[in-house]
Symmetry: C2
Subunit: 506 residues, 2 copies
């Protein structure tokens, strides 16, 4: 095919993709709206709308014409320079297309229906602390996820087929190896913290923090670290998330607890981190892989980086603690910075993942990772979950969940069919620590600048080193290119040691 | 075709319609969001999304398959009983389909583009008070609307083809006849008011009304008259509107002026009136004519009825004025109910339509109606608008707009291609008065009940007599069926006389 012909084909392809991605973005807005401000009686119709849009996007993204265009392009000169934007777009669209084509419209519709029912059942069962109400739905979901994995196909482990949806290229083996080394150091590290007998004054952050002031304070901090409110919003929801609606429109959410400071504040920083990634993507490639996030793990690295490595650092609070004292005089005026800093960095085993500290959080994930893999490989069944969970939990943390709502039913993911998703959370922590260590090498005054309220150089570093690439490199390769080393738990452990060593005298 | 075959065909048709209407509802949400809470940088992409959705809806609603299904159904037994839901749906979908088919996709896209540019140009020109900046765009819009009218076709007047988009069945002649009789009585009536020399203390409603209290008060009143906030929301926008997103989700908007009480309050009641209509439609017919509003005129009758006939009545304020005094003690504690009531019913010529009182409002509309018709019939050209406007305005109101922003550039409609739309506003007033007079016959204690804060019987009356019918009857016939008489200006003039006679001693 002539160069001219090739570029016309490429234009045709990108036009089609942009079209169904624009449609998908309508779905993002519908979904954002559903979870933030939709009137309650709109729920039933909203499900219908979302399912219609999902079906249309699936149909369009797997249309035979896309395959034809990709076929023409794959051996063209546009595909020869692997890191050129056109080649990246062709490669990644092909990958998605091949996967999408394997799923029939019927399967997608069934999965949508079953997971929608599953989520409702989960919600009820969780409220009533009764796993048996959830079990029949969960069984259906797991059966479908197994079917999906078999339909996708895999080389080594059935679970690999599912991880790939969220962390392309990652496998049970590759992730498992990193997690194993990580856990080996993490467990004695946690034990040392516990054995130290030291504890911060946790009640400091459990005082009364008026919601209005929390909102203003969190918004200001999200803005200060670089989330652009002219291209985004911060709203309230039950389960916080970030949604990139489209170019110039990224929405983050949080939830306010008047008697627990960290929820809303670190939640907002976390989602702002996701949002800064979305806002840092190249909008000229909207809808195309060059303008999309690499993987959920890399996405999570951006949120955890701002939430924890920045937002829970001493330098950050040097800048923001005086503000906090002004916003919350009743709770904080008599509290010293060091006491507050320690209170927001309290490490102790707890039941709920989303409330866990930086150290124990990873163990919550490793537990889920192991269980998911066993479920998908039918080594355990859905009915075994509560017993297996509690046994594992006790061995990991030394405490046993008093009921399944504080145990195996705390997360929405499985009910929603998100299996293979959990490992990306801990991967995010590891990527974050590795990126941050490198950024600190490149920007040696970073902490001093945080203390002055200056976060621009770090944001720029992330924009240039990570965001601008879109999906040019797979996560694994991106980490190596940016940091010079393959992914490892070493930077995370180094960070945890340096931070928590002094706090707990270990 | 067998009865069974017919009903399958009907099912197929309604499924298809529901599908594109569900897609259209995505467009409604995108548009609502754009005009209320969207981050500013999202504007460009949002236009793209809206245009994509509009194109898809147009394509689907005019697909040949719809025509085939309609063809099969039109002579079937389902179409024989003209007021049966199925027959209504077949009839009205056919009507829309025939019209839609006449417009090519290219035309729809061009109109979308030109009116989008037109609105931007209008906004700038209006700010700069410079009609010449708007003129070239307006010329393009008018040319397209003439083309549209010619494409649709018409029997008598080219303008009829455009009115029909908003008020099906209405013509320049039929509307013109009603307006002529109306104006004949309205003009001397206004003159008598002016000659009375009486004026309320208008500064009462121009005091400081804190926005927060306005919001709470307006929300409470919208709820009291029957707008269901579990199936709707009230938000802030620049140009207030009501949007029926879908079953269980109707959104109204208003805007707050801290130094002018009526804007937000009556705006909210007005939109709540539209909202109550939307919420009163039969959701089981969502997307189908039986579940849709009859016409813009009938829609406007519902908003004007609640805004004016209810919301500006003495009985209403007997109930709400003590609340108003509590919400706005600084502005109102020393003001008597009668003075406040008169201040919100101040009649005097003014430049801006949306700020006009119940009496002069109609003249604003008649002026636009005459000008639109002349423009579409090429009796005047776009360049003539400022001069013709000012001349007419002076003859109607005795005052001359000092600039075009207070004159011919005050409304967005023409820039947006909404020609033939304006008459529905005054029709709304006439329908409202005629419906209300009949409701008062059926519910003789209505005013007494308003004074007690009870609006349920009126809402129920509207639900049963108007909303529940969807598009079963054309507007013209609906009015006759409900009130026993064809549309006339008599009930409106009677209402105005009875209300303003005592106030102005005429």
């Amino acid at each position: 095919m002539s160069t001219n012909g090739t570029s016309q084909t490429y234009e045709k392809l990108t036009k089609r993709i942009r079209e169904y991605q624009t449609l998908g973005a309508c779905g993002s807005l519908l979904s954002w709206d559903e979870h933030t401000i939709m009137p309650q009686k709109g729920a039933e119709f909203r499900s219908e709308q979302l399912s219609l849009i999902a079906g249309m996007v699936h149909e369009r993204s797997t249309a035979p014409e896309i395959g034809d265009l990709l076929g023409e392009l794959q051996n063209s000169d546009l595909a020869t320079r692997p890191e050129a934007p056109e080649a990246v777009n062709i490669r990644e669209v092909s990958r998605e297309f091949q996967k999408g084509r394997k799923l029939s419209k019927e399967f997608v519709e069934e999965l949508t229906l079953v997971t929608s029912q599953g989520q409702h059942a989960w919600k009820k069962a969780r409220e009533k602390k009764d796993f048996s109400l959830f079990l029949p739905y969960l069984e259906k979901v797991i059966a479908l996820k197994i079917k999906q994995a078999e339909t996708y196909g895999y080389e080594q482990d059935r679970y690999d087929a599912l991880i790939d949806d969220y962390e392309p290229g990652a496998t049970f083996e590759s992730v498992g190896k990193v997690f194993a080394g990580f856990r080996e150091e993490l467990t004695p590290f946690l034990k040392a913290i516990q054995d130290s007998g030291k504890k911060p004054k946790r009640e400091i952050i459990e005082r009364h923090f008026p919601v209005g002031a929390q909102e203003t304070f969190a918004t200001g901090a999200a803005k200060a670290i670089g989330f652009d409110f002219k291209a985004g919003r911060l709203d309230v929801t039950t389960h916080p998330f970030c949604s990139g609606i489209g170019p110039g429109d990224t929405r983050i959410t949080t939830r306010y607890n008047p008697n627990h400071f960290p929820d809303a504040f670190f939640g907002a920083l976390h989602e702002a981190g996701h949002g800064i990634y979305e806002q840092g993507l190249d909008t000229s490639y909207f809808g195309l892989p060059m303008g999309q996030a690499v993987s959920l793990g890399i996405h999570e690295s951006q949120s955890r980086l701002w939430e924890n490595l920045v937002g829970r650092s001493k330098a950050f609070w040097k800048r923001f603690y005086p503000d906090a004292q002004r916003y919350f005089p009743q709770a904080l005026s008599a509290v010293a910075l060091d006491d507050f800093y320690w209170a927001v960095n309290d490490v102790r085993p707890s039941f709920i993942r989303v409330e866990a500290d930086e150290v124990t959080y990873n163990l919550h994930i490793i537990l889920r990772f192991e269980m998911e893999r066993a479920l998908i490989n039918e080594e355990i069944s859905a009915a075994d979950i509560p017993a297996v969970w509690n046994e594992k939990f006790t061995s990991f943390f030394g405490i046993t969940p008093p009921d399944d709502s504080l145990g195996c039913m705390q997360d929405v993911h499985w009910s929603a069919g998100l299996m293979g998703y959990f490992p990306t959370y801990a991967l995010g922590n590891l990527y974050a620590a590795q990126f941050f260590a490198k950024a600190l090498e490149d920007l040696p005054n970073m902490y001093e600048n945080f203390a002055k309220g200056e976060f621009g150089e770090l944001k720029k570093w992330l924009n240039e080193n990570i965001h601008a690439h879109g999906q040019r490199y797979p996560a694994e390769k991106l980490v190596e290119l940016v940091t010079g080393k393959p992914l490892s738990h070493a930077p995370e452990m180094k960070y945890l040691n340096e931070k928590y060593g002094p706090l707990y005298g270990i």
